[in-house]
Amino acid sequence: MNPFQLVLKQMRQRALSTWLTLLAVLLGSALAVAVLILQRESRALFTQSDFGYDLIVGSKGSPMQLVLNTTYHVDKSPGNIRYIVYEAIRNNRFQVKHAIPYAVGDQYKGLRVAGTTAALFGFDEFTGQPPAGYDDKGKLLPGYLPASTRAEDRPADAKVAADVFEIRFGKKFTLAQGRVFHPRKFEAVIGSEVTDRTGLKMGDTFKVTHDTGGSSKLDEHDEEWTVVGVLDKTFTAEDRVIYIPLPTFFAIPKHEEAMDVQTAMQTGEDLSKFDKSKKPATTTTAPATTQSAPATAPAAPPPAHAHDHKSDPKPTTRPTTTQATAAVHKPDEDDEEDGHDHSHHGHSHGGMKYPYLINRDGTIDLRLPKDRWMLSAILVRTRGGAANMGLTYQLANSPSGAMGVNPASVMREFFTTFLGPTTLLLLVIAVMVAVTAAVSILVSIYNAVSARQREIAIMRALGATRGKVLSLICLEAGVIGAVGGFLGLLLGHFVARVLSAVFEARMGVQLDWLSTSWHEWVYLGSIIVLSVLAGLVPGLKAYRTPVATNLVAA
């Protein structure tokens, strides 16, 4: 019998004790491995620097909240900034390559609905057409190289596609089905996981509800969007987002009112006109006049969607977009744009004003002037470090109420501040559990050795040296440590899979729970070494077992 057979035989002899000890090691190792994976993946996730944008512009406040809200779609938007900030940045071609507006605050079945432009997907912002080198799915045409290809990597005769926005460095959105939304229609492009999570699919229509930031008071808006495109999977939080054209986001009457409140606050206007308790809802026409841009910005804009839905007057009846499109044109009394081919106009229903007109082709004419548009954030790809720093500085010192933050550095700070210490603490606990497991090995085998003095004496009488006996005991401890540790490694990865599902449910990102890192193998090695060392104590007891005494006593 070789030493392994001997050890396995003896382990089987006291199966219950062995299994319990193995379980202790297994659980300790599983905990440690799960923590190691969590630490590795959260570090990779939150300290990633491959964002396709190097600046997020949002309302002044918490940079972390802005980045978490914009990049991972968690937490509430810290506040809104005015659309003119976006226009100014977009037109700043000296410092900016790409600028993508984001307006958030609504949801569909728990998934974020974001108003944006087709430029997010690499299409023309105004026409929705694919740029040079890309097909209508946003995929690179054969023979083209992406614009992000380094000059030294481009063959001399290579055709370079247009420089488009990428969500991650070298990775842009592409469509798996359908097309990108029309810039002025109630259409939507959905992330790859939206269908699985909500049942929405190509051709479906849906209404969005106001996201009350965790409150159960959800308020459904009247507008109805049609799904016209499904994105390919990006393995980011974007996979769970429903994208709608920015104008249709602003078209939601309640958004209009919220934006009016915020605009008024930013311009220092009297807010009493928004107090419905003093001024019952009455018919008001959509503002047709353009308000002047603020001369100075207030210190802190209010949070997004600061309006009170409970007090909002409910529209009584309203034709859906489809109905409106098909409806016979009957100019309303308050139609201020006679002569247009509108099937539905901004008109009043029970005191509510819809700030848009629907044309027969389904496009809308937003009757809300741009200086009343508010955005949650702007994703900006600058032209480099100096441009980034310059723009950040300019924003910080402008009266716009906006700030610019580098998402990569903010996430690094987030990890260092919160996740790093937390996972370190978990790791310390895991190591302590592992030490406890090693002690359980020690106690288990020590007790076994005490009960096996006679057997050890017999083996010694049969020719086993003290060293052999010691090595057998240590081997037994090592086998328990190795088997328990390895099973713990497997269980740890299973736990990580569960955590990955939780991460995915909350943030839309998955952990790479399957791959192993050298940390895990070092941990497994440490467990085995620790186990063997734990085996030394009972091993030395066995080593000192007096043969003659135990043979005679037996």
């Binding site: 019998m1 049969l462 020719g463 040296t465 003659a548 037996a554």
Partner: protein, 237 residues
């Protein structure tokens, strides 16, 4: 293999701190291949003498020299403990009064266990042959708890012969058996010792058993520290 003991002495410390001589053997020789019975009463130092010869305990004085045809002569008292363990495993077979089998191991595994500490390749076929020879061919996978006392002792006999030893030390091997089983076990020991060409030193207090061997020695005759046996014990049976 022949065995030569010279001026062997072993004392134990009594509870009062005094040294009590247990073994004081001026000379003892066992020629190669000879089967020797050593009789003595309980407490006369029989087991201690076997432990000394096996190298399990060390003497206070004297030599225990094995003359091995292949390896020459070896004084076990001059070896280190580890060397004695290895020597014991390779060249000596030990049969205890109580079988001392490992309860979690089958009959076959107990025999194989005897081969595990010699740095030689285990020989399952030989182990099965030995168990067949002791009448347990159909009990190979039985654990000791499922065997009778006589069968357990047969397994112990097979285990002692597992490494084809040069000398088999048998400490009251039939002491726990009824006369019938005792006789069968003794015959098996002798048969297997002859098969492997091993010498046999069997200690017993049972004269009927001892008389069946070629040479019968009385411990009190060779051990000056041992009390003489009462006369009836030595009377012809």
């Amino acid at each position: 293999m022949s065995l030569a003991i010279r001026n062997l002495a072993k004392r134990f410390v009594a509870p009062d701190g005094s040294a009590v001589p247990v073994i004081d053997v001026p000379s003892l020789d066992i020629p190669a291949g000879q089967h020797v019975a050593l009789i003595g009463s309980s407490g006369s130092g029989k087991t201690t003498l076997l432990h000394l010869i096996a190298g399990i305990v060390t003497p206070d004085a004297g030599t225990i020299t094995f003359d091995l045809p292949a390896a020459g002569s070896t004084d076990i008292t001059a070896l280190s403990e580890a060397q004695r363990d290895v020597f014991r495993g390779r060249h000596l077979g030990y049969i205890f009064q109580t079988h001392h089998l490992l309860g979690g191991f089958t009959a076959l595994e107990n025999v194989l266990l005897g081969m595990s500490f010699t740095n030689r390749k285990a020989d399952p076929a030989w182990a099965k042959h030995l168990l067949t020879e002791v009448g347990l061919a159909d009990r190979l996978d039985y654990k000791p708890g499922k065997l009778s006392v006589g069968q357990q002792q047969r397994v112990a006999v097979a285990r002692a012969l597992a490494n084809r030893p040069s000398l088999v030390l048998a400490d009251e091997p039939t002491g726990a058996l009824d006369p019938t089983n005792a006789q069968q076990v003794l015959e098996l020991i002798r048969k297997l010792c002859k098969e492997v060409g091993a010498s046999l030193l069997l200690v017993s207090h049972d004269l009927a058993i001892a008389r069946q061997l070629e040479t019968v020695l009385t411990l009190s005759d060779i051990n000056r520290a041992s009390k003489p046996l009462p006369a009836p014990a030595l009377a012809p049976g």
